[in-house]
């Protein structure tokens, strides 16, 4: 009986929305916006993917077609690493538009991932990214505000609230009904999108992996929570406000602060507290450190002399010329090991700094569910900083492996005498241990996901308390 009254309130609210003149444009506008963003975002993803694939294929062909060469020649020819993207990056592009997608791997140096779209973009980029994730995170709450700001306050203004209470409807039940009337369609929309996502992936790849199922399911859960929090806030403010107009103004102000201003401000604060050092500074420091270690070309260098003695001792010979292997190759391996360490140390500092920045922002998410959903959505879509840094780290490992393989070839396949004049078979490059870099599994993002979902649940509880408080405080 009680439930049926609640259900009637919900249904009544929907009927009213249906009859309202402005409902159709709002609903159509939202659906159109969402559909456009889905189409464009996926289209862009596909284009980026095709571009990457093309460059990857060229790179692969160039590598395989190399003629007989000296292995160190090949180490300078270098290889390219391509950043992998998850299909969900077509839903939430996240940081991917602002990261380099191609990294040149060569010996002696650690390059930056270049060619991000943002550096060379037009000023229109300052207006944000038009992705389905953006529509759900930012536009959707605004639409909910438009629909719901007067949901209770209007009843009070028109005096219908008194009449209803007089007929025996409990106030809290009434307001709960209003909340559900707002929340059920929002959550349904998220579910619908999720189902569409499943169908889409199925059509694209011909199957559903555990990975994609869990990712989409988590997206449905998190966005439902997020929108439900907004519905609670909207209903609560509408209950508390004296006039519909002041409810609207307050809600718009909250939206502005939560969705527009504070994500920007959060990152600015993080950057003010932990400024990112420039790559050039890091390289300066690395070079200075390398010079301290030694110079492999200098015959009197203490470090490399000690290395030479240890190698001679290991093989039990007197002179470099008597070694069964090519000493130059060993020297290259040692040099690469040292320079890699030094560069990695410096680049690690930058990576750590960026993690500090992002950690600060994710802690700010406790104050702002909009930041929490952003973090969650990007982590699920593998388009956040952590995934980018994982790519950089994988690429660096790949670089080191390939270069040391080539230095090993120089050690074992090239004679020491007139080293530079020799070439070895191209079959050696074709057998080189090169693998494409792949995305880590969903486990990788576990801590971010757990934290963000904890924030959303905390806000849900807080919202519930606020809601309860508003219902109790509101007078007819």
């Amino acid at each position: 009986m009680i439930h049926s009254i609640l259900w009637q309130i919900v249904r009544f609210e929907w009927r009213r929305f249906w009859r309202d003149k402005s409902s159709l444009p709002i609903a159509l506008g939202l659906i159109l916006t969402l559909a456009t963003s889905l189409y464009l975002s996926h289209y862009q993803f596909q284009q980026r993917h095709a571009q990457q694939q093309k460059a990857h294929d060229i790179s692969q062909a160039q590598w395989m077609d190399q003629p007989d060469r000296h292995p160190h020649r090949v180490a300078h020819f270098g290889d390219f690493a391509f950043k992998p993207e998850h299909i969900l990056a077509g839903f939430d592009e996240g940081a991917n538009a602002f990261t380099g997608h191609v990294l040149f791997l060569e010996s002696h140096r650690q390059n930056s991932a270049n060619f991000n779209d943002a550096t060379e973009s037009t000023a229109l980029l300052r207006f944000g990214q038009f992705t389905p994730a953006f529509v759900l995170q930012v536009v959707m709450p605004l639409v909910l505000i438009f629909i719901g700001f007067a949901v209770v306050s209007q009843e009070r203004e028109q005096g219908s609230l008194q009449q209803l209470v007089a007929t025996g409807v409990k106030l809290n039940q009434f307001i709960l009904g209003k909340l559900l009337a707002l929340a059920i369609p929002s959550v349904a929309l998220v579910f619908l999108l999720g189902v569409a996502g499943f169908v889409f992936v199925l059509a694209q790849t011909g199957g559903l992996s555990m990975d994609i199922v869990s990712r989409i399911a988590l997206l449905i859960l998190s966005y439902s929570l997020y929108l439900f929090i907004w519905c609670m806030v909207i209903t609560a403010v509408s209950t508390l406000a004296k006039h519909s107009q002041s409810a609207l103004v307050l809600l718009i102000a909250l939206w502005l602060i939560f969705c527009i201003a504070s994500p920007r401000l959060g990152h600015e604060i993080a950057h003010q507290l932990y400024p990112t050092p420039s790559l050039v500074q890091a390289d300066f420091a690395a070079e200075a450190a390398l010079e301290k270690i030694g110079d492999s070309h200098n015959p009197d260098d203490p470090h490399f002399n000690a290395f030479k003695i240890s190698v001679l001792k290991q093989y039990g010979v007197e002179k470099i010329e008597d070694l069964p292997v090519n000493y130059n190759g060993l020297l290259m391996q040692e040099g690469e090991r040292l320079s890699t360490q030094v560069y990695s140390d410096q680049h690690e500092k930058i990576a750590q700094r960026m993690l500090q920045q992002s950690t600060l922002v994710s802690n700010l998410a406790w104050l702002n569910p909009a930041i929490a959903i952003q973090q969650f959505s990007r982590a699920i879509s593998a388009s956040d900083l952590a995934h980018h840094q994982a790519f950089l780290a994988d690429a660096e490992r790949q670089r080191f492996k390939t270069v040391q393989y080539l230095n090993g070839l120089q050690t074992h396949e090239v004679q020491h005498e007139s080293d530079k004049e020799q070439r070895i078979s191209q079959q050696f490059w074709q057998k080189a241990p090169r693998e494409d870099i792949v995305l880590p599994g969903i486990q990788f993002a576990k801590s971010v996901l757990l934290q963000s979902i904890a924030v959303l649940i905390a806000w849900l509880v807080l919202g519930g308390l606020l809601f309860n408080y508003c219902v109790k405080r509101s007078n007819i």
Binding site: F80, A123, L125, G128, V139
Partner: protein
Amino acid sequence: MKFEFKLIFRQKLVLSALLLSMLFAAIALWNGWSKIETIRQEINAAKQAETLRFAEKIQHYGNGGLAGETGYYVFHTVYNMPAQWSFISLGNRNFSPHIQRVRLLGLQAQLYDGESHNPEYAVAGNFDFAFVVIFILPLFCIALAHDLCSIERNQNRLTLLQSLAAKPFRFWAQRLLAQWIIASISIILPLVICTAYLQLPWLDCLNICLVVMLYALFWIVISGALSFYLLKPSTNAILCLNIWLLITILIPNLASILINQATPVIAGAEIALANRQKTHDAWDLPKQTTFDAFFKEYPEWKDTPAVTGRFHYKWYYAFQHVADVSVREAAQQREQALLQRDANSRALGIVLPSVAMQYWLDDLAQNNLENLLNYRQKISQFHRQLREYFYPYLFNETPFNAADFQAMPKFQ
């Protein structure tokens, strides 16, 4: 008129919005300034570090050795120094490298190097003066003017007011004027204080103020005018917010994607791949092939002796340059396409005040695509100077001495 101001200030909500808006503008100015200051300091530190190491370098490389070796090992710092007003619109400054290093090797492999920004920061966007003007100021204008007429109608004062005012148009205009002045001041006041404090040129400040006021006027007039047609103030507020959403977020975004579709740009990676292939092919080609290509650009070195050995630096740097030349056209086409996109986006400013405003501020701040391409142009010019400085040493096999090291071209 005085009465109008009194009326506005009596509304508590408006007063707090005014203060919030001023606070946002002040934070944005401070934040932008400190960001730009950090960049300036970094550039100066890099320049200083280079100067400090000069003596050491000159000792190492300036003792009559091979010029080719100096060219290979000595890096030159190049930098993109911010302009005077760069802090009002950070634009692409935060995610394009402002310090890079180049050496005598092929330029294409170096030109795009050195990215190190937090991509998540770039996604969030900057909290700069441009952001406050373009996104926040309109909201403040809407808050002020959306109930211009409708609130009077709602409270049944409209007919009375209309009949009392001798000239109704003047009455409404005066009210709008008061709102316009207040909205503008919320942004202008922090800017004027900032200009005075930092001793920046007043003429530029005046220009910014005028443009900002024009932008505010657009929003005040739109939201005020609509209030005559709509019955409820809240309906008008929603309508105005939808216009805001369309003008400041949805249309620019949509247009950006469409413009990028209309003008495809070759992937930078493809050029990099072609350049690498060309560079390394040279090792397996007859040296004369490389020289033939090189002498087309630099015939003055045609008569120097041919290279017969396995390696010579003049051949090495010749093929580096030949590889650059081989992708020059593709790189230029790419730049042209980028500029075409930019021109199309700029044209959107004719209809969208938000886009016009962003472009105007980016131009003044010099944090736009044009600036980036100009900077790359400057690097290319410097690289060319450097090459042409080194060619006599390479082709005439002149030893490289301290004086020669000293006289190397410097960036800017």
